[in-house]
């Protein structure tokens, strides 16, 4: 055979290899093909192609592997078991930027499924190679490396610590300052994943000066970037008072309030999460948020959104109101209580309802004024229903009961307490009757109203063990009225009257 024919054989082989790898990469983008591919044994076929002579085939094979691993954790485990990772890590250091991107993509796809797989990736020495590729010039390589590091650090604290120990954090902070938006997004998300596990990790992130750069990007027009920035800031500030104060000192308020009207709902949610994490630490931080008008903005946000995205806003109001009674009054003044009542009635998920009940309890527990404001929106019967409902979760029942108790212990607004006389179980009824017994002896109009609205009748019908506090309260109520009236309203009085009529002998 001539030389050209010999070479032609090799060329056709190369062509078929290229075609195979490209088709597999394309098929792997569609989830329905992946099962078939897996059953056809694509892993064992792709593996030798990673070591192919032609760089394009290598890159496409790596890309295909990455897409397969992305879909399913079985495939990712197969990659780990097949000892492909060390080869990829080696090539991360050596090859050109396209291969680096593909290799970083595979590492990320493997590491995202579970902590064990991420640990396997770390054990191959991937961290050093990824950190080195963070220093590359090409922003695409940096982005892929940062993404992989973020996914590794996401799972738990040890993996985050490993990422930090590899020296990734200063490079990530440098990446945030790059002009490319995609790189900024990924770097911010990676920093957020690192900082979320423990205060020490958050402190490490803060020590590299990340807060200033994150704060600069708050008013960037890109929505996805803002999501990640706010998520990072909230993960940093959630751990301790000092970190929260550092975040606040970056002068994010009141610029952050403008982002509460962003069209993207996750940006709004993350802003509210940030405000919640800051407000929960001390009364001074809550006061600062209240004074900058944050509470009004959050209440408007609650009115606009629906579903589980309301949760951070509700919790923020609860935390603010929990610290001090003037802050709770500020929440009431900003029309927070009607909004929370709407949330309580509209939402269907138990954890959101539990959070709303808790917040209402925190607002109403301080003074009778607060309790009156909360009771005025007709929220007490709803709380009672939530407490009594068998289908609500235990957490919801507990929170509803606590809220109800704390509000009732301060509530002196009798028209709001009346409906509770009829439906409540005895442990709630005790508090209701206690409040009545406190108010009625001193207020004659209330006494009259109590009789005319049928409350006295209901009180007489309550059965209580003698000597129990409930009986004492009932007695103190009965002592406020003349005996005939009490007898008139006691149950079975009509029977006694009729018996007297029967026994009476006309003269």
């Amino acid at each position: 055979m001539s030389q050209r024919q010999v070479l032609q054989v090799f060329e056709s082989y190369q062509k078929s290899r290229t075609q195979f790898v490209q088709t597999v990469a394309e098929l792997a983008t569609r989830p329905q093909n992946i099962e078939t591919l897996q059953n056809a044994g694509v892993m064992s076929l792709l593996r030798p192609l990673l070591l192919d002579v032609v760089p394009t085939i290598q890159q496409t094979a790596a890309l295909a592997l990455g897409r397969l691993a992305n879909y399913n954790d079985d495939l990712a485990e197969a990659i780990v078991k097949g000892d492909i990772l060390p080869q990829l890590v080696y090539s991360l250091a050596e090859q050109n930027r396209f291969y680096k991107k593909a290799a970083a993509f595979v590492l990320r796809a493997v590491a995202r499924h579970s902590p064990e797989l991420a640990q396997a990736v770390v054990d191959c020495g991937a961290l050093e190679a990824l950190v080195i590729s963070l220093e590359e010039f090409d922003p695409g390589v940096k982005e892929a490396a940062a993404w992989a590091l973020g996914y590794i650090a996401r799972h738990n604290g040890e993996l985050s610590q490993a990422v930090v120990d590899a020296g990734a954090v200063p490079l990530l902070v440098l990446c945030i300052q790059e002009p490319e938006i995609a790189l900024k997004r990924i770097a911010a998300s990676a920093l957020s994943d690192i900082a979320k596990h423990s205060p020490e990790l958050a402190q490490t992130v803060v020590d590299t000066g990340a807060i200033a750069h994150l704060a600069q990007m708050i008013l960037n027009p890109d929505a996805k970037l803002k999501r990640q920035v706010f998520s990072a800031l909230s993960q940093i500030s959630k751990h301790s008072v000092d970190l929260a104060e550092l975040v606040v000192e970056a002068e994010i308020f009141p610029a952050v309030l403008a982002c509460l009207r962003d069209p993207d709902e996750y940006v709004r949610k993350n802003v509210t999460t940030l405000m919640r994490e800051i407000a929960k630490h001390t009364p001074e931080l809550s006061q600062m948020i209240v004074n900058s008008g944050g509470v009004a903005a959050v209440i408007d946000y609650l009115g606009d959104c629906k579903g589980a995205t309301r949760l951070p806003g509700i919790m923020m109001l609860g935390y603010v109101a929990a610290h001090a009674e003037n802050l709770a009054m500020a929440v009431i003044l900003s029309k927070g209580v009607p909004q929370l009542a709407i949330c309580l009635s509209e939402e269907s998920e138990d954890h959101v309802k539990a959070a709303t009940a808790w917040s209402l309890g925190q607002i109403g527990r301080h003074t009778p004024e607060h309790a009156r404001a909360v009771a005025g929106v007709n929220v007490l019967p709803k709380l009672l229903v939530l407490y009594m409902d068998m289908e609500s979760s235990e957490d919801l029942q507990v929170k509803a009961k606590k809220a109800l108790k704390s509000i009732l212990q301060k509530c002196t607004h009798l028209p709001a307490l009346e409906p509770l006389l009829y439906d409540a179980p005895s442990n709630i009824l005790k508090h209701v009757v206690c409040q009545f017994s406190k108010v009625i002896p001193h207020d004659s109009k209330a006494r009259r109203l109590f009789v005319t609205s049928g409350g006295l009748k209901k009180v007489q019908e309550i059965k209580a063990d003698s000597g129990s506090p409930l009986q004492e309260y009932i007695n103190s109520i009965n002592n406020c009225y003349p005996e005939e009236i009490v007898r008139y309203y006691s149950p079975g009085y009509s029977e006694t009257l009729l018996e007297r009529v029967e026994k009476y002998q006309p003269a």
């Binding site: 290229t18 490209q22 394009t56 890159q59 496409t60 890309l63 396209f98 991107k101 593909a102 993509f105 922003p139 695409g140 982005e143 892929a144 490319e180 995609a182 790189l183 009141p254 309030l257 403008a258 509460l260 009207r261 069209p263 209240v290 004074n291 900058s292 008008g293 509470v295 009004a296 903005a297 408007d300 003037n326 009054m329 500020a330 003044l333 900003s334």
Partner: protein, 357 residues
């Protein structure tokens, strides 16, 4: 002896008398003794009583004085204590007043300041209103911005579409797709088609700008995770490579300088220069730093036309040539200066060939 016998006869009498006397004396003695004793005891008693009375009187005086003294001392003590107690009670009452006032003030100012709280809550309401208003405005502004950007992009897209579909323009004979005769008038696409200008060569500045834009777009495309195109099968035939054709198609026109200059370039340049002068030249005489300096400068006349007392009229009022009859015996002015010898040796100094000059 008679006396003796008498006496002896009387002895019996005497004896009886004596006995009687003795008996009466005995009886009297007892009675008298008793009386004497009584009298004596009475007297003794009186004496003793007088003595006791005397003693008592003096003892009473002493005791009375002493008791008065010690009772007065005790009384003074009691008095002081009572005074002290009354003073302390008074002080306590006054201290209670002060403390009451102070506690009221302190609590009202620091613990629960009603007016401060009211002011704070009012200010908070105002601040909330303000924030809500500002956020609403901001949101509307952002919304308008986005809508405007979207509208501009839409318009540009439609314009480019019209540029590509310029052949759909309606003519007199044949109304176009967008100019239906059954409608009242032409639609907006028709208007756009009429307005459209063909895609021409761009001027140098525009080319540079679009190149810059293309470069930026290329950079962004590179940053997206695309691998480079793999060498596809070459089509059979005398075709050039695909990238070459693409590059050629994208290549902008490079006109020569003659083509690129406009026909009115000279006039345009003149106009440009004039307008530059018009706009740039603020000061006509830029080397006069103090505008009024030259106004007050003293006129320094020429030396030749001036004497110590007045200006000479020669050179301004009369000239020599006008009055030649007065000059008959005067010499003419020298109008030729002495030569300067700088260039005498010009040709001769350096070389022979300079003689040509």
């Amino acid at each position: 002896m008679a006396r003796l016998v008498k006496l002896q006869s009387q002895i019996q009498q005497v004896r009886v008398e004596f006995f009687i006397r003795q008996r009466t004396a005995e009886e009297n003695r007892k009675r008298e003794n008793a009386a004497a004793v009584k009298i004596q005891s009475w007297i003794r008693g009186c004496r003793v009583r007088a003595y006791v009375r005397y003693l008592t009187k003096h003892a009473v005086i002493i005791q009375k004085t002493w008791r008065g003294f010690s009772a007065r001392a005790i009384f003074r003590q009691m008095q002081e204590e009572a005074y002290l107690a009354a003073r302390m009670k008074f002080y306590n009452q006054m201290a209670v007043r002060i403390q009451r006032r102070w506690r009221g003030y302190f609590v009202r100012r620091n613990v629960h300041n009603y007016y401060e709280r009211k002011k704070y809550l009012e200010a908070l309401s105002k601040k909330n209103e303000e924030i809500r208003r500002e956020l609403d405005e901001f949101e509307q502004y952002q919304q308008k911005e986005r809508e405007w950007v979207a509208a501009v992009r839409e318009e540009e897209r439609k314009y480019q579409q019209a540029q590509r579909q310029h052949f759909l323009l309606s003519t007199k004979q044949c109304p176009g797709v967008y100019n239906s005769p059954f409608r009242g008038g032409p639609s907006e696409m028709e208007e756009r088609l009429r307005r459209v200008t063909p895609v021409l060569a761009q001027s140098a500045a525009r080319q540079a700008r679009s190149k810059h834009r293309q470069q930026r777009r290329a950079l962004e495309q590179q940053n997206a995770s695309f691998l480079p195109p793999i060498n596809a099968k070459k089509p059979q035939g005398p075709f050039r490579a695909a990238e070459e054709v693409w590059r050629q198609r994208q290549r902008p026109l490079e006109p020569s300088l003659r083509v690129a200059t406009s026909i009115t370039a000279l006039e345009e340049a003149r106009d440009q220069l004039r307008s530059q002068e018009l706009s740039a030249r603020l000061i006509d005489h830029p080397f006069w730093p103090f505008a009024s300096a030259h106004k007050s400068r003293k006129y320094e006349p020429l030396i030749h036309t001036r004497s110590a007392f007045q200006t000479l009229p020669y050179g301004t009022k009369h000239f020599r040539e006008d009055a030649k009859h007065t000059l008959q015996d005067k010499e003419a002015f020298k109008t030729v200066f002495t030569t300067c010898h700088v260039f005498d040796k010009f040709g001769r100094l350096y070389s022979n060939s300079g003689k040509i000059v």
